[in-house]
Symmetry: C2
Subunit: 801 residues, 2 copies
């Protein structure tokens, strides 16, 4: 029975009942039997927890904190980056040309970034040992040769000019080298070849899609293909938006061209055919003949060029009352967390962590502690796959591996009041590419917000109690071309940590011609090109040390004969098992959530004998987490990280990331093949790394026009303490209320309101001051690094985006 | 390639590049090739969308609206309920006794509620036909017989006293009758029997658990068992909390007793044995002998009686800065939706619906329209199962079917500022039980809130744009004994509708003795008793009419040979199929979200030939949706609604609900056996009803002490337009911003801020006025109905809870 249901009602019904027995099968007034009222216990009074109101005129300064130790993961300073560039230019064997002056046949430095210290060295340092020396890596494009390639170089230690050395860097690769062929080093000239070929059929372009080829952009498959040793590119014609809105990916025109662009000598390049309306014409003659005979079925031109439908401005009927200001979050108590901005360190409630920022993958968290104990050494994105399919070669051949483009460069200034509350703490991010250091101001935000529902609540006949659910979030947004990815790391009062990704921006669409099998017809000439998003995170957990084990606790049906029952009973039980080694470490979330995935140190049980664990569980989403395609013709083994929702590996310093941004140059020979990390090592009481995927199967429909909305393009995972503490830690929060009634006096009204020291804001809150100044939106700042002038840290021009 | 990535950066990099070609495989500064800047298009100026600020001193009145037609689903008025009670008391053959005077051998009326009109009649009415007459039903407990039973009676039409008739009601049952045996009609006397038996071993109680049996409450399995024709009850001893906190379910004491309580004559009842520490003693002699010999292994007493650990008040170290007021939502623009409170009707943006409130299941939505067209006829909870397991008979034998207790009676006043924002519109709910009408004031809330992330956002080289994500929610909370269930129905600007449930309150725990297979050891003598929550909703969708079909669109891997490729390609495609009939209509959410579940009218395609569909998708949760146990020894066929995540049936007026609250009296002979709805009927272009489950496998851990927190005890489903409109409807919202820069002048700073008519609140917001007055918390109001005095609608006492 629901004993407490009866108890809860006891007080209210006491007047109409004289019966004494607590009532099994008590129903609210379904029958007349009610339980005895609770004794009129004195409510717990808490005079030291008197409510006090909060004077808005005295909002304190934002708290600050001094970092406990140097942030050894902080990205290169501008001066360090400049030093690395200068140092490399001094190495004559590299034959470098300044990036600003380099042509297609010059060697040049592309990315420069910190080489994060090995975990081994970081742990030694945090245990009081020596600070690991700082090393940088630089990706160098070697273009002076017939077979151009890229390779990473390690440079360091920094700060010790006399000791600085350099050399090719291969330690964190599975290929044994970071060298990768660039089959597309001459893209300016290949583009000329594409354009010239297209122009030979300008009349057909004009007839079919209303304008000569020169009025379209030509681009296509990514990565390039290899057919019988030849390098193949397919390109399609895309319209150019005529408004400010950059919705070119909504303007495919349905004409595709195939090229052999093998080698660096244009004389060796070949045009291999046209595709239109799902019919392939191996030569221009074939194409023209078909056209002349009227065999090119006229399809619908995507005439977005002269319309505004690709925009995202307000349109259609105004919604009722919608011009009035909607609800908003405010922070009347000011900032309730402490940041050491210079050292990229933050403390909120009982959590603390460092952050860093990388060109390839953006924001990254380090040394995440909860209640003074480390729970994660490292948490950050490693790669993002967007794998398309279609009946045309451009869609079929598109499998973006987005770190190739980089999440750092596209982490633009956030839109205050929309991306983050206007009261958020905004900080800058910096990356170093092409010998330029770029700072995106206000591109990372930190804020608390109310979750919209309480953390806890309960009502009975004598009290009603509830606790606020205030969440602390770190957010950045990267607009990688058409898509905007929002990344959120959130910390919760119950000890949970969640990771979410949301997508907005423009879909990449397909031309609608005989492709109903690959997406929906969403506009006259447009198909919502189906694709899978799979984003891979590295989560290096250290639960009470680095000796960790992954456990599975499964809720399973069972038929059991108990001594106390004459017949067997159909019931369920909990089945516990553990992950043994990497051969079994490709994991899928169990159907119906029946298996809990835990991580713990087997030697650290709580006083009741249960492992002090953290549970990992997907909690937002539902549109898919891993790749449909397991053997992609596009991405090959470069996307091995994407083929299941969760992997567990034994930590090795050499297995630092699940992917390398330059694998996209040659995905069938990836620099990092994630599957090689799963090589049978024992996983019981080892230093474990979890690699999880978030994502969605995205089959765009009409609701993706103009932009995809975050509503369902949203996936998240949560990591929660599970028998880790002795009780729910949110009970430490002062932000709760208990209304006490019906106790000592028997009166029916509230006698006391307990607020536990949590202050309530009163007075007048200045909304004018809280309003963002959108004219202050600024964007990025470039610093040219070579030659570097430390007295002029920024360019004179502060360019936006 | 990511063409727009290149475009976005074009403007910024124009200065450092003279190359013209759009760049396939463009990387941000990985090489020097950058695309041409966008032409300096003139930004779309929109002078009629000037920003205006909002004068807080002139917040308009809350909008009101007049209901389009009478709310035919509104619950009985107090006068109607009183009429029904009086009418039944006039029927001498029923031999009723006033509830206030009734004893265990008297017939009495328990629940009175509206019998919702058949959908058939409702549709006729809404199409302009006659208003369906109002009928009530009453559940009558027939206790004057040796085999007591309950049965529902229909009474009506109401409002026409000369025409009112009554009779047993069986139309919406699968059993053919609503009559159900009550095997527990004498619970006051059985409790005396339990107590007296326990008292025979008071010395053992005292020795084992520190107090004689009279200081414990005795209650146990739910529903009762039947063994070889006998009615069996198992009870356990539970401590009585000594504080205001009603955490009795945290105080099991590990002593269990088995009784045969068959029949109404106590002389026929038998005591059948003791259970302690997993050992069964068939007689008291056996138990006492074992005790005397020292064979009763001493286990740990759950000594919560004199401690405060079962409370939820603040404790432990104060968290940093946590006494300062946290962020909160405010509504500076006032209420932006319109309610007809008298007629239980609301309009928000392009949504409208009616609501009703029932004793059994609480709030229910009707005639949900979007942009003027119906999308759902009915949406509401039908039943909630909480199925436990354990090595003791009380946990093993617990399978609450919570409508038995009712969600209506426990929908207490909400805690303003916690359950709902203080600016929410709160309304009352009323139910009629035991000849009393009870009104819970402010027990349903309606509010908008900011979702915490934008609906849409995009940035490029010339603009940054984002759109607010304001959500409209209807919420109520029912505290059914130990657990608090929050129910949320939310409406979104992209047209989505979501349903969520969250759980908080006290777990029901088990005594910790040899039961590690059934839960975690969470406190000295306590095990977190594992259980499944499964909550079933009826969702009667009508998409562009009542001829509807469920479609499955599956993202599937495929190897395809295309004309344009020399080799087959490993890719994926979209496979479409449809649900044919009820034999296949027990549905599971596909692994990895690979199948989209849609509902549409096949005759209503959009202009591109795609079905105008709605998609149904779980989007919050991850801890399980349906019951682990498929053949429960406790709940039998009464829980057939819980055995899969989703069912589809053909609508019939007679199949109104998936469960009946009185099936819990005799679950192996349920009044409604949901599986009988799945009887092979055709489902293509029929009037379809979807029945979905939300839930969780709950294996409580230490973090569930004192209360379960909402953080992961949270599940939700979302229903979204899918090719239903021609584009994303959130583009209609005025609450968006576009920052324009870098356009006509080439300047790098923001030139214009477009706000599309959306007003921004400025000025001083009065937080003092927004602060809830917790001393006004009031609770419920009872009106005794028999005899009924319409001049005194409320009791003089307004009792809380």
């Amino acid at each position: 029975m629901r004993a407490t249901a009866a108890l809860a009602l006891g007080a209210a019904l006491a007047a109409s009942s004289a019966l004494a027995a607590p009532s099994p099968k008590y129903q609210y007034m379904k029958n007349r039997f009610v339980s005895q009222p609770l004794a009129n216990f004195k409510a717990d009074k808490a005079p030291h927890w008197n409510t006090s109101s909060y004077n808005l005129t005295q909002v304190p300064e934002a708290p600050t904190v001094k970092v406990p130790h140097r942030n050894i993961w902080a990205g290169l300073t501008n001066a360090e980056a400049a030093y690395v560039v200068a140092f490399l230019h001094n190495q004559t064997e590299l034959n470098l040309t300044a990036a600003a002056d380099a042509g297609a046949w010059d060697n040049l430095i592309s990315t420069v970034d910190l080489l994060a210290p090995n975990k081994t060295d970081a742990l030694t340092f945090m245990a009081g040992g020596p600070e690991p020396p700082r090393y940088a890596y630089a990706t160098i494009m070697f273009n002076t040769v017939e077979e151009p390639y890229l390779e990473d170089y390690i440079i360091g230690p920094l700060g010790s000019p006399n000791e600085t050395t350099y050399g090719p860097y291969s330690f964190t690769t599975t290929k044994g080298t970071s060298r990768v062929r660039n089959f597309d080093a001459d893209e300016d000239r290949t583009y000329e070849f594409f354009s010239a070929t297209a122009a030979t059929c300008d009349d057909i372009f004009e007839d079919l899609i209303g304008a000569p080829s020169g009025e379209y952009d030509l681009w296509g498959i990514d990565p390039l293909w290899h057919e019988e040793g030849r390098v193949i590119s397919w390109v399609g014609a895309w319209g150019r938006p005529t408004s400010v809105f950059d919705g070119q990916t909504l303007l495919p025109q349905g004409i595709y061209m195939k090229f052999d662009i093998t080698g660096r000598d244009p004389a060796g390049w070949k045009f291999l055919g046209w595709l239109h309306n799902a019919v392939y014409y191996p030569t221009t003659d074939d194409f023209r003949t078909a056209y002349s005979k009227g065999l090119l079925e006229k399809t619908t031109r995507n005439d977005g060029m002269n319309s505004t439908w690709i925009g995202t401005d307000r349109r259609g009927p105004e919604l009722p009352y919608d011009t009035r200001p909607p609800p908003m979050q405010i922070a009347p108590g000011g900032q309730r967390f402490a940041i050491d901005e210079e050292n990229s360190y933050v403390e909120w409630m009982d959590f603390s962590f460092y952050w860093s920022f990388r060109r390839d993958t953006g924001i990254r968290l380090w040394d995440i502690k909860y209640k003074g104990k480390k729970i994660m050494h490292e948490l950050g994105l490693d790669e993002a796959l967007a794998h398309y399919a279609g009946n045309d070669p451009v869609q079929s051949g598109t499998s973006y591996l987005d770190t190739y483009y980089g999440f750092g460069p596209y982490a633009f200034e956030l839109i205050s009041g929309y991306d983050c509350p206007s009261y958020a703490k905004f900080v800058n991010s910096t990356f170093h590419s092409n010998e330029i250091s770029t700072t995106h101001r206000r591109s990372i935000c930190f804020y608390e917000h109310d979750a919209g529902f309480p953390m806890q609540r309960h009502t009975n006949g004598q009290y009603a109690a509830a606790r606020k659910n205030t969440v602390f979030t770190v957010k950045s947004v990267s607009t990688v071309g058409n898509y905007d990815y929002s990344f959120l790391y959130s910390f919760h009062l119950d000890g949970s940590l969640s990771v979410e990704v949301m997508a907005s921006g423009y879909i990449q669409s397909a031309y609608y011609a005989a492709n109903g099998e690959y997406g929906y017809h969403i506009k006259d000439g447009l198909s919502g090109s189906m694709h899978d998003h799979v984003l891979n995170w590295k989560m290096d957990m250290d639960v009470l040390g680095t000796s960790n084990t992954v456990g599975f606790h499964t809720v399973s049906p069972a038929t059991v004969k108990y001594d106390w029952s004459p017949v067997p009973r159909n019931t369920m039980h909990l089945v516990r098992s553990e992950l043994e080694n990497e051969n079994n470490a490709t994991l899928h979330w169990a159907e119906n959530g029946k298996t809990m995935v835990l991580i713990y140190n087997k030697d650290e049980k709580n006083k009741f004998g249960e492992e002090r664990a953290w549970r990992i569980m997907p909690h937002v989403g539902g549109a898919g987490m891993y790749s449909t395609i397991q053997n992609s013709s596009n991405a090959g083994p470069a996307m091995n990280f994407a083929k299941a929702p969760l992997f567990v590996t034994k930590h090795k310093d050499s297995e630092a990331h699940s992917a390398h941004p330059n694998s996209a140059y040659d995905p069938f020979n990836p620099i990092i093949d994630f599957s090689k990390y799963l090589d049978g090592e024992d996983l019981v009481q080892e230093d474990l790394v979890l690699w999880f995927n978030l994502g969605m199967h995205h089959v765009p429909h009409t609701g993706d026009l103009g932009n995809t909305v975050h509503q369902t393009a949203h996936a998240g995972i949560i990591v929660s303490p599970h028998n880790y503490l002795e009780e729910d830690p949110s009970s430490q929060s002062s932000q709760m209320v208990r209304l006490v009634y019906n106790t000592s006096t028997g009166d029916s009204f509230v006698e006391e309101v307990l607020q536990f020291g949590g202050q309530t804001a009163t007075g007048l809150y200045n909304l004018t001051a809280a309003k963002p100044d959108y004219y202050a939106y600024e964007g990025d700042v470039n610093t040219r690094k070579f030659p570097y002038d430390p007295t002029d840290p920024y360019d004179e021009t502060a360019a936006i985006v």
